[in-house]
């Protein structure tokens, strides 16, 4: 095109709208939608109502991690909610916010208007990404604050039993809960970025909106399969699971750090791909919403490549097995039993014993020695033995373990009636759940140091 010199009419020069103004504009649009308002209200109120209702019920959500502790401490509420949110709430929230932030302009036919107003596809992208991130953060903060405040008010600021049976003081529990939610932000960002990518790449298609939820569901299914640990850790949603490691002593930081790092890499990669596709989109044809083969090749294939590369990078650290073996199970059960035995001793006002004095040990087999003692399954059986000072005979109890592929287990005990014979124990302050009757635990999937 040839440039021609000419006298200009008294007209303002072309100015791009700043990112700050674009961000405010996008935020106003998002908050004007009734759907977003309902989500904000729900995230700030529903968790509080959930915790309050559970506190009034006799039954507890024992299938969810920390669910069996919801009557014992207010810090269990935000953790139960985190478990639920990682599986369902956060993928759905990211779908509804980030998954729609670009597609809504296609649906309303407002792209040309927006481009003429802002004059920069790059700034539009940044404004939209930041505004959707802001709303998602408001929703997440609502989930944390609501469940925590309700738990503390309704149940109380009490000690929390960790996943290896050790007690966390209220202050430590608060720190660990906060850190767990903070770590869960990484996979939330990854899902939000996948939402942006879906919204850009798939345009008006409902799949654009649903992509984070679909990806999260697919990852959940994969996590329940006996896949290698390296692949498990390379999935961007693993930090929704690995925060469990914060509730053991010492903390299982390895899987958590890997999970957070992978999630952040996915967040950056998916956002970058969304940006790449968006700034190259042709807005001159209103019937073309950018979806098509290019979206598939430029959007999906690089992420598949990232998954392969991540798996290859993690494999030397994690190995290719299931991450669950006999030694790890025996150690985890013995340590947890010792911690919980001391807790029970305290509840029953018996003379305190130390872990060293107890010398607890576990001998675990899988499938009655019919199969190799490794990998997940509900056929793990552990014989736990311990010593009490001044008593010649060692005590023993049998625990049946259901270990899932993520390393989480539920241990169901059978032994002396004074130890784990009953569901409840009679304490000076009334009947309380017997910590040794049934307990949850967590096995670190990375090789033991």
């Amino acid at each position: 095109m040839t440039a021609t010199a000419a006298t200009t009419i008294d007209a303002p020069v072309a100015r791009k709208v700043s990112v700050a103004r674009g961000y405010r504009f996008e935020l106003v649009k998002l908050l004007s939608q009734w759907r977003v308002r309902v989500l904000i209200i729900a995230c700030w109120l529903a968790p509080a109502a959930f915790v309050a209702i559970i506190s009034q019920q006799a039954s507890l959500p024992v299938d969810t991690l920390f669910g069996r502790m919801m009557h014992a401490t207010g810090w269990a509420g935000p953790l139960v909610l985190l478990g639920f949110s990682g599986s369902w709430a956060l993928p759905l929230l990211t779908s509804l916010i980030a998954g729609d932030v670009f597609a809504s302009e296609d649906r309303l036919g407002t792209w040309r208007h927006l481009l003429v107003a802002v004059r920069s596809p790059r700034r539009i992208f940044v404004s939209k990404a930041l505004s959707s991130l802001t709303v998602i953060l408001v929703l997440v903060i609502g989930l944390v604050v609501s469940s925590t405040v309700s738990g503390l008010l309704v149940i109380g600021n009490r000690e929390l039993i960790g996943l290896d049976g050790h007690l966390l003081s209220p202050g430590h529990a608060a720190g660990a809960v906060f850190l767990a939610w903070l770590c869960a932000l990484a996979p939330t960002l990854a899902l939000a970025a996948i939402g942006l990518l879906g919204s850009v790449a798939l345009g008006r298609s409902p799949m654009g909106l649903l992509l984070p939820a679909v990806v999260a569901l697919a990852m959940q299914i994969v996590q329940q399969l006996p896949v290698p640990v390296a692949f498990r850790l390379a999935l961007p949603g693993y930090a929704f699971i690995s925060w469990n490691g914060l509730f053991t002593s010492p903390a299982q930081r390895g899987p958590l750090l890997i999970g957070v790092a992978v999630s952040l890499v996915w967040a950056i990669a998916a956002t970058g791909l969304a940006y790449f596709l968006f700034v190259r989109r042709d807005f001159t044809n209103p019937t073309h919403d950018g979806s098509g083969r290019r979206a598939l090749t430029a959007g999906l294939l690089p992420l598949v490549g990232l998954l392969v590369v991540s798996t290859a990078v993690i494999a030397p650290v994690s190995g290719f097995g299931s991450g669950i073996d006999q030694d790890k199970v025996q150690k985890a059960v013995a340590v947890e039993f010792a911690h919980l035995y001391r807790l029970q001793t305290k509840q029953l006002n018996r003379a305190d014993v130390t872990e060293e004095q107890l010398q607890s040990a576990a001998e675990c087999t899988k499938g009655g020695d019919q199969v190799a003692a490794r990998g997940p399954g509900n056929d793990w059986r552990c014989v736990v033995s311990w010593h009490i000072p001044g008593v010649a005979v060692a005590g023993s109890a049998i625990y049946q373990l259901d270990i899932n592929p993520l390393g989480r287990y539920v241990s169901d005990g059978d032994g002396p009636k004074e130890v784990n014979g009953f569901f409840l124990v009679r304490t000076p302050s009334g009947d309380e759940p017997n910590p040794l009757w049934q307990f949850d635990g967590n096995i670190e999937l990375l090789p033991a140091k």
Binding site: A3, A6, R21
Partner: protein, 312 residues
């Protein structure tokens, strides 16, 4: 110093893949002029307006907007406003919120019109606090115009602005456009409604398959030599018919019609013969109660182009 045209395009060509959307389009629009773009579907009207809004750049040719050469997308001056393919509005927001958000996007209050004033100009004051979700097409068009007015444009681009407008809405919109033009703003609008274009525009460009078939004052379309069909309603239809047969250059059309029980005459004639016919009617004491083209010169040109396109 001469005031440059609001739009000066020379040899503008735009391709979409292998499709030639615009082919060597020349265009001049002066400040204060309301310029109509008409043409059959697919003629390139929206593409041309999109180029003027800066949504795309031409593959060939030169384009100057408000005296400034335009070389890349989204680089047109802030003095250009408008919409193509309908106004961009957010249904979850009220009319006022839509405009407020847009004004906040611009940031500089000295560069934007008062929001209440813009809403009042298009006659939407009563529904300013209603959500756009419930607006009719016409109301959306008017609000889209108000949004464009916010930036105090020097060049206003409107794609089918009269779509869905009721008579009251049309009156408001036409009033606004006429006032803007009187204040020196150039207005370019596309429309399928020939009567709207004739009523509003001083000049028109007819596009056909991406090429300019005509560009200039509408009056030029009805040249002295061209023959148009006219509808004539007189006090004495039989006598008028006889005079029409005797007047040189006038052809009586077979199709007769009746209006309010009175016979209408349809004649085909160039302007000089029509003048002679009217003179004869008056000399014979016949009152001429209505004389109007069956189709306007613009519509005739448009139809001719459409037929030509279908033939091709």
């Amino acid at each position: 110093m001469d005031t440059p045209p609001a739009v000066r395009a020379r040899g503008i060509t735009k391709y979409f893949g292998e499709v030639v959307a615009l082919d060597g389009v020349d265009l001049d629009v002066a400040p204060g002029q309301i310029h109509g773009i008409v043409g059959p579907n697919g003629a390139g009207k929206t593409t041309l307006l999109g180029l003027l809004l800066g949504l795309a750049v031409a593959d060939r040719g030169t384009l100057e907007i408000l005296g400034t050469p335009v070389g890349r997308a989204l680089a047109v001056s802030d003095g250009v406003a408008g919409f193509v393919d309908g106004p961009g509005l957010y249904p979850s927001m009220t009319a006022k919120q839509n405009l407020t958000a847009l004004a906040a996007l611009r940031g500089d209050p000295t560069q934007t019109m008062n929001i209440d004033e813009a809403i009042a100009q298009v006659g939407l004051t009563d529904v300013a606090d209603d959500r756009v979700r419930g607006f009719s097409l016409g109301m959306r068009q008017r609000l889209g115009l108000a949004a464009a007015l916010l930036t105090k444009p020097k060049l206003l681009i409107l794609d089918e602005p009269s779509n869905g407008l009721d008579p009251a809405g049309k009156k408001h919109v036409y009033g606004v456009l006429t006032r803007l033009a009187a204040d020196g703003t150039a207005v370019m609008l596309s429309s399928h409604r020939m009567d709207d274009v004739e009523q509003l525009c001083s000049e028109v460009t007819i596009l056909s398959t991406g090429r300019v078939a005509f560009s200039g004052p509408i009056s030029k379309l009805a040249s002295e030599d061209s023959e148009l069909d006219y509808r004539v309603l007189t006090s004495k239809p039989a006598a008028a018919r006889r005079i029409a047969r005797q007047t040189h250059g006038i052809r009586l059309r077979d199709d007769e019609t009746v209006k309010d029980g009175v016979e209408l005459l349809i004649i085909s004639a160039p302007i000089p013969s029509l003048d002679e016919f009217v003179k004869q009617l008056v000399d014979d004491g016949i009152a001429v109660r209505e004389l109007a083209p069956v189709v306007s010169p613009l519509e005739a040109a448009f139809l001719a182009l459409t037929e030509q396109q279908e033939t091709n």
